[in-house]
Symmetry: C2
Subunit: 158 residues, 2 copies
């Protein structure tokens, strides 16, 4: 496990809990996979978002990307330095890079790459520690409340 | 140089030439950096796009991302397998991953990471060959017509 619960704030924990509830609801109500993200700034949830790839027919619209786009539009600035990205699933390579372009240096997530289907990542030889080691300038805590969502992202799950 | 001109088709070359013209025009007419992308499928340019980060106040709207979103929306499908991504600047980590999520396995670009400002990449320890070696499943030809655009992306250029 990349980190432990003890490293996260109360606001971050609550945001992840809410994101997990949203993902589980989406899966139960509509049969969608259920991936949700949020952005927390100054102990407040600024935006929440859900994966929109199928609805928008747009492979770039992962939950984290939608959250980043909404947050910068809402705040009227491109830079989200000091904020935390929250996700029910470890951000893929695209979302992790987008997070850094938005100036975010902290990410908290539930399901970890090692325990989900391969399809959620496109450069399987690189893990989040590799991106960190490559000068990524972020901290990450993964595996938080992981058991609550793993069934959504297992190999063969729809 | 990651590749040579001899590996690209006539349609790809023309698409890159058009993208370079668009990038140079944008820079000259508006003072923007000027980054343009296109997607070529079956020897036809399906879409062209320009970086929209500042206009949209959205750090995810790189030229390649806008092109991918437009192409999938236009074709009504998430999968662009068999198409080629064209860009005036080597795709960053976000765009490269997005390209793979869209099923694209080929990218042609002008300016290369080694010769542009650091700000265009967020994991400086990883180059495009590392992503390829990490199971990226794509081919790439970079440095094509590079001299025409390098001044746009130099350190300190606006």
């Amino acid at each position: 496990m990349p980190g432990t619960d003890s490293h996260i704030t109360q606001a971050e924990r609550e945001a992840l809990r809410a994101a997990i509830t949203r993902a589980l609801d989406a899966h139960r109500d509509s049969g969608r996979t259920g991936i949700a993200a949020a952005i927390v700034c100054d102990d407040e949830v600024i935006v929440t978002a859900e994966n929109a790839v199928d609805q928008d027919i747009d492979p770039t619209r992962h939950a984290e990307m939608v959250a980043l786009s909404k947050a910068t539009a809402q705040l009227g600035r491109k830079d989200l330095a000091g904020c935390t990205l929250i996700s029910t699933l470890q951000p893929c390579e695209m979302c992790l890079a987008a997070m850094r372009f938005a100036g975010i240096g902290r990410v908290i997530y539930a399901a970890t790459q090692e325990r989900v289907a391969d399809k959620y990542f496109v450069f399987p030889g690189l893990g989040i520690r590799d991106f960190h080691a490559a000068g990524g300038r972020f901290t990450h805590v993964g595996g938080v409340m992981e058991e609550d969502v793993l069934h959504l992202y297992a190999d063969g799950a729809e």
